[in-house]
Symmetry: C2
Subunit: 331 residues, 2 copies
C-alpha cells in the first residue's frame, strides 16, 4: 500500500505487520484436512495474496477503541477472527462471481480462477465451505473475554451484510441491471409465482443501492464490527457505521474510475472491461470529473464523521488513512 499524501501517517508501516498476522491466522484456520482437495480449493482462493483491506479496516476500527479493551486482550486479538471471517466471505464471493454462470472469468489477480483449476463443482462447494467456515471461525475463535451477546450480534450482522440485504442481494440487483439474471417468466408463472418485478431503468439511485449492498455492506460491517466487539458506545457505533458507508461508496467509485484510467500492470486485470460490457458504473452516469468530485466529497465526509465522534484524533488515524487509500489507490 502506498502511503497517501493526505495524512502524515505511514500506512505501510501500519498495515504490513497486521497483514502478516492476518495471513498467519487465515493459514491456521484453514490447515489442510480431509477432503484435502476441498481445502486446497478453499486455500487457493483465500491465500492468494489479496490486499486484506476488509480485515485491516476491521482491525483499525477495533484499535480505535483500544482504551476499552478487556483485561489482557488487545484489540487485534479481539477482532482478528472477525477480520479473517470477512476475508473468507470476500474470497467466497470472488469464487462464485467468477463461475461460468456468473461473470465467467478465467483469471483473477493474474492466476487462473478457482473453477479453472479445480472444476466448477469444486469451486461451487469451496465457496459454500468458506461461507460457513467464516461463521465458525468468528464464533469459535473470538476470545472468551469478548461479551457473548456482542459476539452474537456481530455474527448475525455478518450474515445480514452477506445475504439478501447485503452482498448477495446487491449482486442480484447488479445482475438484473446488466441483464445477466432474467427470471424466466413463463416458468415462474407455471410454478404459480408472481412475475418478478423488473428493476427500473438504470438510474443513479439504483446504482448507489447496488454499490451499497454489493461491496458496501461488508465494508460497513468491517468498521462497525471492530468497534462493536470492543463494546463501543452507540454514538461511536453510529459514526463508524456511517463512516463505513461513506468508505464503501468511495471504494466502489474509485473502482469504477480505475476501470477507466488504470493500466493492466497495476490493476492485474484488463482495464475498460466494465465499460466495454456496458456495465452500470459511477463513471457512466456522472463522468470522470463528476466521479472525482464525489470522491473528494466522500473523503471529507468520512473524516468529519470520525472527527465528531468524540475519540481522540490519534485513535482514528489508521481509519482515515484507509479511507484515503481506498480513494487514491492505483489498484
Amino acid at each position: 500500500m502506498v502511503a497517501t499524501p493526505v495524512l502524515n501517517f505511514d500506512l505501510d508501516a501500519y498495515a504490513t505487520p497486521r497483514r502478516q498476522l492476518i495471513e498467519q491466522s487465515l493459514e491456521q484456520y484453514t490447515a489442510l484436512c480431509e477432503p484435502e482437495s476441498l481445502w486446497q480449493s478453499m486455500r487457493y482462493s483465500l491465500l492468494s495474496g489479496g490486499k486484506r483491506f476488509r480485515a485491516l479496516l476491521c482491525l483499525a476500527s477495533a484499535e480505535a477503541m483500544e482504551h476499552l479493551q478487556p483485561a489482557g486482550l488487545t484489540a487485534v486479538q479481539a477482532a482478528m477472527p472477525c477480520a479473517c471471517a470477512l476475508e473468507m466471505i470476500h474470497a467466497m464471493s470472488l469464487i462464485h462471481d467468477d463461475l461460468p454462470c456468473m461473470d465467467n472469468d478465467d483469471f483473477r489477480r493474474g492466476k487462473p480462477t478457482n473453477h479453472k483449476v479445480f472444476g466448477e463443482a469444486m469451486a461451487l462447494l469451496a465457496g459454500d465451505a468458506l461461507l460457513v467456515l467464516a461463521t465458525e471461525v468468528l464464533l469459535r475463535k473470538t476470545p472468551l473475554q469478548v461479551d457473548r451477546q456482542c459476539l452474537i450480534e456481530v455474527a448475525a450482522e455478518l450474515a445480514r451484510a452477506t445475504g439478501p440485504d447485503g452482498m448477495v442481494g446487491g449482486q442480484v440487483s447488479d445482475s438484473i441491471a446488466t441483464g445477466l439474471v432474467v427470471p424466466t417468466k413463463s416458468l415462474s408463472e407455471q410454478a404459480g409465482l408472481r412475475t418478478p418485478v423488473q428493476a427500473d431503468a438504470p438510474t443513479a439511485q439504483l446504482l448507489e443501492s447496488i454499490h451499497k449492498r454489493k461491496t458496501g455492506a461488508l465494508l460497513r460491517f468491517a468498521t462497525w464490527s471492530g468497534a462493536r466487539l470492543m463494546q463501543a458506545n452507540e454514538d461511536i457505533l453510529s459514526a463508524f457505521t456511517s463512516f463505513g458507508e461513506v468508505l464503501g461508496l468511495a471504494f466502489q467509485i474509485a473502482d469504477d474510475l480505475l476501470d477507466l484510467t488504470g493500466d493492466l500492470q497495476s490493476l492485474g486485470k484488463t482495464p475498460g472491461k466494465d465499460q466495454a460490457a456496458g456495465k452500470l458504473t459511477w463513471v457512466s452516469i456522472y463522468g470522470e470529473e463528476g466521479s472525482r468530485r464525489e470522491l473528494a466529497l466522500l473523503e471529507s465526509q468520512g473524516k468529519s464523521l470520525l472527527a465528531s465522534c468524540g475519540l481522540p484524533d490519534a485513535s482514528t488515524t489508521a481509519l482515515r488513512a484507509l479511507l484515503s487509500y481506498a480513494i487514491h489507490r492505483r489498484n
Copy 2:
C-alpha cells in the same frame, strides 16, 4: 407420515401441528423483500413442501428436555429458529446439488428445479443467501431466555455440520468417488499446489464416511442441538449425538434401499437412478438383505441409546418414532 407399527405412537398426530408451526415460521422468516426475485427463488425451494424431517427431529430433541425449560419458554419456542435454520440449509444444499455443474437435475419433488425456473446465476445466489439466512435466523430469532454461550455453540456447530467437516465435505468426497470432481492435476501443479490425494477405491469405510457427513452431519446436529438449546447435561448430549449418528446412517441406508425398491409415485423421483449411475450405495456393497439387517441393527441401537440416557421413556417417544419412520418410510 405413516405411523409405524413399531411404536404405539401416532407420529402424524405429533408431526402435523409442529409441521404447521415450522411452515408458518419459515414463511415469516422469508417474507418477500427486495430484490424480490431473489426472495422468490429462495422461497420457491424452501417452501416447496418437504417433510421437514430435520426440523421435527430438532424439535423432538428439545421437547425431550421440556422439564428443563427456562421460565415462560416452551421447548418448541426455544428450538424453532434452529429447526428452521436446518431446513434452510437443507433447501440450499438441494438447490446447489441440482445445478448443472453438480447433479444437473431438471426436477425435484415433481417440480422444475430452482435453476430451471430462475436460471443458474439466481439459483447459485439463492443458495448462498439461504446459507447465511440460516445463521441470521438462528442467532436473531432464538429467544433471549436461551443461554447465550449455548446459542453460540449451537451456531458454531451448525456451521461445522454444514461445512468441510460435514455436509459440504461429504458432498466433495461423494463427488470424487463418483468421478464428478477430478481435480485438474496439471493446473494444480502449475499453480504450485501439491497434487490432491485421490480417494481410495470405493470401500465400505469410505461410503460410511460419506454418508456420515453428507446427510448424517445435519441429522446428528438436529438431535444434539435441540437438547443443547435446552441445556441438557453431558450424558444426554452424548447419547443424543450417538442417536443422531445412528439415525443419520439409517436414514441414508433406507434411501439407498428406496432407490432400489421404491416406485415412482411414492418417491416423486425415478427409482433406480443411483444404481443406473453406478453410484456407491449401501445396497451396492452389502446387497438388499445385508442393508435390511443393518437397518434392524441400527434401529435397535438407536432405541438402546435413548433408553440408557436417564430420561423417562415418555420423553423420547417422538424421537424413537422418528427413527422408525426414517427406517420404514416409503419416500
